[in-house]
Symmetry: C2
Subunit: 267 residues, 2 copies
């Protein structure tokens, strides 16, 4: 399991301020921290952008890629913003993302085909609903991959995101159990295994404090690693998240395990 940072998000007041003022410094700091943390990609989510959207995404990407050498993931519902972002990326970005909802199918998915991009596919149906049960989730996954193929995007380019919901939802634990099960078996559904991603930050929305949130996020990192998730989208400014990911990699990875390495890395 590899980390994708969701740190560059418009909900972060520092990011919002920097974007408004076109001040590169806060974005530079985040990019350098992500580079140092060894994340494979950075998600860039600037929320809905007005008439300067194309200029703003260009500013953000040009700033970030001066200091971060990994992949970029462009997170937007606005096709013109995504198109502007794709044009300015030095290495091909990942588009985040589409679902079975008509607007996304007709405007976001064609961009992936046109630019031969990888794209995240959310397990969300036509009506915008996240299915609960594994069977429905697998049906949506099949249909997502079929829609992608129809649009000219091969299955290998699709990264399935089964959508972690807030724990505080009424049947949040049932969603969790079914989500883990979905990730565990999704690689048997297609001829070639598809990759998977899950966004961790949504899970703990409404949590009453930092310590509790850290414990719950760490626990889920271990659970998702055990389910063989490929990419975890998370707040990488939280040291506890990076520690849990590192420990998962030491316990389940391909390297020879040594206790010394655990002692050196686990704080």
């Amino acid at each position: 399991m590899l980390a994708v940072a969701d740190d560059l998000h418009i909900m972060n007041p520092l990011v919002a301020e920097a974007v408004k003022a076109r001040d590169p410094e806060p974005l530079k700091k985040i990019a350098i921290r992500c580079q140092d943390a060894g994340v494979v990609a950075m998600d860039i989510n600037l929320g809905p952008l007005g008439k300067n959207g194309e200029e703003i995404i260009t500013f953000a990407i040009e700033t970030v890629q001066m200091h971060f050498s990994g992949r970029l993931m462009l997170d937007s519902l606005q096709p013109e913003v995504l198109a502007a972002g794709i044009r300015v990326c030095k290495t091909p970005p990942i588009i985040n993302g589409f679902s079975l909802e008509e607007a996304r199918l007709s405007t976001i998915l064609p961009l992936a085909a046109a630019h031969d991009s990888e794209i995240v596919g959310f397990l969300v149906d036509e009506k915008g609903t996240i299915p609960v049960q594994v069977e429905e989730r697998l049906t949506v996954a099949s249909r997502l991959v079929a829609k992608a193929k129809d649009a000219g995007v091969s299955a290998e380019k699709v990264i399935i995101d089964p959508v972690l919901v807030p724990l505080s939802w009424q049947n949040g634990t049932e969603y969790n159990r079914e989500l883990l099960r979905t990730i565990q078996i999704l690689d048997q559904l297609f001829e070639k295994p598809v990759r998977t991603m899950a966004g961790l930050s949504n899970l703990t929305s409404g949590s009453p404090g930092c310590f509790v949130r850290e414990r719950v996020e760490s626990a889920f990192i271990f659970m998702l690693a055990a389910a063989k998730l490929d990419y975890i989208l998370m707040n990488t400014s939280r040291r506890s998240n990076l520690n849990a990911l590192c420990l998962s990699q030491l316990l389940l990875g391909n390297k020879v395990f040594t206790w010394q390495e655990v002692a050196d890395n686990v704080k």
Copy 2:
């Protein structure tokens, strides 16, 4: 996932001393702690016992069941010791356990049939080898259940233990990955789902210190819970283990999730 305590083990010097002196006090203390911790069963492992074996197991069980109301799991390779233990248990114990090894098939498994007991089946082949790959593990599981049926023990009475090996084994992480995968899919192998158990303490043998061991054991508790393990056999005197189990139950259990309950229980 529910806890089985492995605290009453002859490798614990307090237990060894108490058994030697027939001193009930240390065993009573362990039993009371397990009762308070809410574990569903206590594993009793007194190692190889000499000519007083039947008397010693009787002493231990009679002491424990005065203070612990859950199930007992009798962990021995000596059929006469197990038989004496079964006779003195107030509620039917679980026998721990058999494998495809001839000695265990011919002496331990028949006890389960004779006493209509539940029994743990280790995923260990005829030669005493723990298979690495999922496919071989599932083959051994099928053969274990078939052997049990032949001996008059139905599949519902068998609890499969895929055997966690020390992380320090040369390909320890590969064993771990395949073990988790085995637990994830084992319930699809049989007509009715079989239950599963894993022993955590073996995993961290050789660890360089208490803090590192606690972190690794907690991580594995989350991973095993995500794989839908039924019973985790572990050291329940470690508060971190009970905390991780409790958090797993809050995140994946059937109760409605509340942040308050996490805040109250996670230390």
